[in-house]
Symmetry: D2
Subunit: 362 residues, 4 copies
């Protein structure tokens, strides 16, 4: 109830802070019989990892998961999957600044307001390093989904004013996404994004962007029709990530300017099933998946930590300045992609199991 768990039937609980011993993750509800090992988690953890390129922070974190339970003789056994990550790169440093001053754009002030105290070291519980737990859980969710023919893929479609051209979101491949450090499948746009991020870095600043996420292979029928609509849970999952400020699916904000006669997608017969001719509905109708690809976009704000002086106040309210030291990504988008994928996968697996409970066979 204090908000450190996500999901209902595939339930992920995390604990940990960036500058303590490490993170614990418990995943409860995974069906038995899924082959699983650390190797299944490493690719996505590697994509999340800092220091992959000059575009992202150069910290060296081992990011190696230890699976402590839930897997027996190479397959999940139905008991909770316990995973831990050790924090390895905690250089001793002076935290006086962030202990006593509130960093703009960060949760320092709101943590103090809520709890009366906070672990100020590196952001404590609000550090984005917590996403390592989500990415590990998401990798398991993705593996489950892949057995059902569902694929979740994200990529960057905008950095600052630069927008990618993606003719067909469902045709984007993981290889395309991983072919450049900004994770944008439009190579020309990617090159310009990279230039922009390098320039922003030199200017000791940061820049925002937009990530698009696509889930293909989701059958019609997942999602609960009233409060737990699939679109609602996807919105929650993605907004629960740090720095996300906006969410849309299908036509998104563009519906504001649309007429019903344009916006409605005609139903047609497709490949022996019923589908829609167009997909402005982003794969969800009435909160339930339609069988068409699920299309989402989220905005990610520019990194709050920037290596230039910013005005702020101390804990007692005195005006002051702060310069965020340390290494921070000038643009969060490249590393965000895999975090977004993780949350989408977690939501989808959860709704798959909910569908199975109420509407599945048996």
């Amino acid at each position: 109830m204090a908000g450190n768990s996500f999901g209902t039937l595939f339930r992920v609980t995390t604990s940990g802070v960036s500058h303590g011993p490490g993170y614990l993750v418990i995943i409860d509800g995974c069906p038995p019989g899924l082959p699983l090992s650390v190797d299944d988690l490493l690719p996505d953890l590697q994509r999340r990892r800092p220091g992959q390129s000059s575009l992202v922070t150069q910290r060296d974190e081992a990011d190696l998961p230890e699976i402590w339970s839930g897997v027996f003789e190479g397959v999940t056994d139905g008991t909770p999957i316990g995973i831990l990550f050790r924090n390895s790169d905690q250089r001793s440093r002076d935290y006086d600044d962030i202990r006593d001053k509130y960093r703009p754009g960060h949760a320092d002030f709101t943590f103090d307001a809520k709890y009366g105290l906070r672990d100020y070291r590196g952001g404590g519980r609000s550090s984005a390093r917590e996403s390592i737990a989500r990415v590990a859980a998401g990798a398991i969710a993705k593996k489950l989904l892949s057995r059902l023919g569902v694929r979740v893929l994200g990529y960057v479609v905008q950095v600052g004013p630069i927008r990618a051209e993606i003719p067909d979101p469902t045709a984007v491949t993981l290889d395309q996404v991983e072919s450049n450090p900004v994770r944008c499948p439009d190579a020309a746009a990617a090159a310009r994004m990279i230039d922009l991020i390098e320039q922003v870095r030199k200017e000791r600043d940061s820049i925002g962007g937009v990530c698009e996420l696509v889930a293909t292979g989701v059958p019609a029928g997942w999602g609960e029709p009233v409060f737990d609509k699939l679109k609602a849970d996807l919105a929650k999952g993605l907004l629960s990530l740090p720095a996300v400020t906006a969410f849309e699916y299908g036509a998104g904000f563009a519906v504001a300017q649309a007429r019903g006669s344009q916006n409605n997608d005609p139903f047609v017969r497709k490949d022996g099933r019923i589908g829609t001719e167009t997909n402005r509905h982003g794969g969800m109708l009435g909160g339930i998946s339609s069988g068409e690809p699920i299309l989402l976009r989220v905005a990610v704000k520019p990194t709050s930590s920037i290596p230039q002086p910013q005005r702020t106040v101390t804990r007692s309210g005195e005006p002051t300045e702060i310069v965020t030291r340390g290494r921070h990504d000038p643009c969060l988008l490249p590393r965000f992609v895999v975090m977004g994928e993780a949350m989408v996968a977690l939501v989808l697996v959860d709704h798959y199991l909910r569908w199975k409970a109420q509407c599945g066979p048996g």
Copy 2:
């Protein structure tokens, strides 16, 4: 788990369909001692009511709530508040069309795909009439919030291409919102919106728009920092409403083009408390309220039911056409406002109680 409840500590559960006897609502967790009567629910129910103007559907629904429990001698007594609404305007009609054909933009197909059958009369469980239950619960939430100095207000800021100018969202009053049938506090824009909606109606079409929602008086400290971020739960609450396709808070999608140095709001001392000079963060940092006004915007798609022929298929997949009969709003926005307010209020009350449990006095 089948998604007909919302909230954790202030928990709303609804049942009912548009063409059955009516709706039941149970609100569990309301603190005792709140003066409450049907009169507290009527204003918002009236704002949600169809037939208020030529802009909205002309059905005549009584929409009178009956409070069956939870209130004793004029105040809440801590036990669950049971409310029922009777469906009064069920004209007998021919449902053959929507029984056998899938209406574009509606949940007909996805309900069939999920459950194998559906109550096809007037949308059944997916009918927007379900929002009557939410608006009633939201009115109670608002009353609780008002005792804490919190006000939630929504209004229309865009219909089709017409955008309102709102110099200061926190200065908008309920009277301004209610001063015109489109519920847009910018009178000039409102007039043009009304003209557009009338034109769209004549063209047998519908039009989308954007609703802005503002919560003032929320103290710093509400919201859980990881998965149940306040922004995440607000996104979920609003996306759980029918026709909502997009959500943003604060600077929203505009952060994609922003630099960190612009986007971060400097902390300053304000009126004896710590606040921020600007409010691009929309009143939430790290998922926790900052004490600044909470600013949200959602996109609402054009009404799917339009009185012109649309291409679709039958349940068996045969191509056909459908004309949605009945009275439907050509633009959902005017009536949406109070539904959006309800969801925001429900989320805020829930997080207030969660704050109280973990961090409150005692």
Copy 3:
């Protein structure tokens, strides 16, 4: 979270008080496709009904459920089942006594302590009339279970010092149980129980007893192994009923005197499956059903309301006396049986759906 819901995947939420307009029940998560009508609820509601014999209170309540949603064209449609009961027999009376004095054995004082006020009319929310909602939900759960070959049956095995002889709990039939007003399948014991209850009534007193509950046909594999053990949820479900003060399964308290070599049930091959030779484990091992019959016993205290003066205090703590007026069962056991069955059925259906989600086919 205020405790008016039960279950996770088959979730029952109730509201209502004994002397308001009535009770609302919402059952969320029922699989679609179950044939269901009011007729399916009536037999159990009739068994719960007051006034069936001289052994139970003579109030006349209609107890007729109205199904408002969740059933379409005779079968459940996967949306929440809304049921309401009207309170019909609210004779106008003088509540001054119970408004100002605390009835011994009742919740009057604790409600005041918790909420600061209470609906004192007839017990308000703590009235056992709330069980009407549970019995209705339980009847639906039983119908679902019966399709899986599971039967739940309860009966009285003790009233005061009189104990029934039940050679084989799994051989008891509903007809045997219903063959006498005390619902004890041992006819000789039943006769003596009836005499005792009549005598107790004449003495203006009440008497306690024990109810045994048997679930047959439960396959091996239901129940979660750690906190949500099947035995734990059954204990909770039954202890959530008013007047229940003790629970045991299988050998129960007798294990205290047993040796492991006696108490362990040897595994054997039975009818093509693996089972146990004896059933001291009451059908559950490690919190999971074993495939053997589930055997439970609960103690039910003597009715707290007795028509003789009892010492107590007023709300302000002044010593006084109270005589509980109105009609009350001198022994709760005969009507308790169906309430116990309902809770057992609700727990079993919930764990069936949980099994299906994690371990079921697909």
Copy 4:
């Protein structure tokens, strides 16, 4: 939903198996500001520890908790408390027997039936070593309760046929309980219990017993009146422990033989508050605490693992024999006491926070 979490507002999630790397525990919802260190956990962990005396198993487990998060500069900071325990004493051994044969009284068969596979090493997830996680969480709950003036204490009142005399359960002290290895505050009975357990051990057998638990200082008003009655959640918490087969509170099963006129506890004025003259209601009325001491008793079955041959079957159903090797307590009761206390404390803290959310100040 797979049952590895307990509680709602003070929520404990555990993972781990007896013969893997160790156990993870995440405690979510602890209020900030509680001084906490490993030293607060050690006394109860020591009481749970195997090898304390000849009465309990002689394994050597370190049982040292590592607190990984949730405590900052010596006090809880409101973020989830992550704790891990390493498994240190995993002697390499031959598990062929328990891999292929079902141990009577254990969960081997039911795990296989549920999941299709199981970690057979030392009981896997069903090992009672999981209680180490509960005891650690319980120690934190107890510390929170002690600040509210609430004390939870358990002790052994029966082993086999030997029953202790406890004139006043609320007068028993921790020192008395800890003064002998069987944890029975009646020294004479304790001596006989010890003799019996030694004799049972020599006979290669095991013996059951009864544990009594007392919570003093609980104010009137904790507990939810309908499904989440305090008595119901206590029953669930205690029945969720391995080997517990029965639960009663207050007069318990003895109510079956009682008359209402005897069983009702008269209300009286006591020390400036309203209380009851007697406490047959065990401190709970209508599911809510009354302010009187909470009195509970649970039965614990004889250890299923006994070092003598028992009849059973193989996984394929072939009749065979099994001798449980390894060191096992001949009587679980002495080590059970602290596990029972932990569950009672967890339930009480949870209901305290629930009371605070709905009915507390603010």
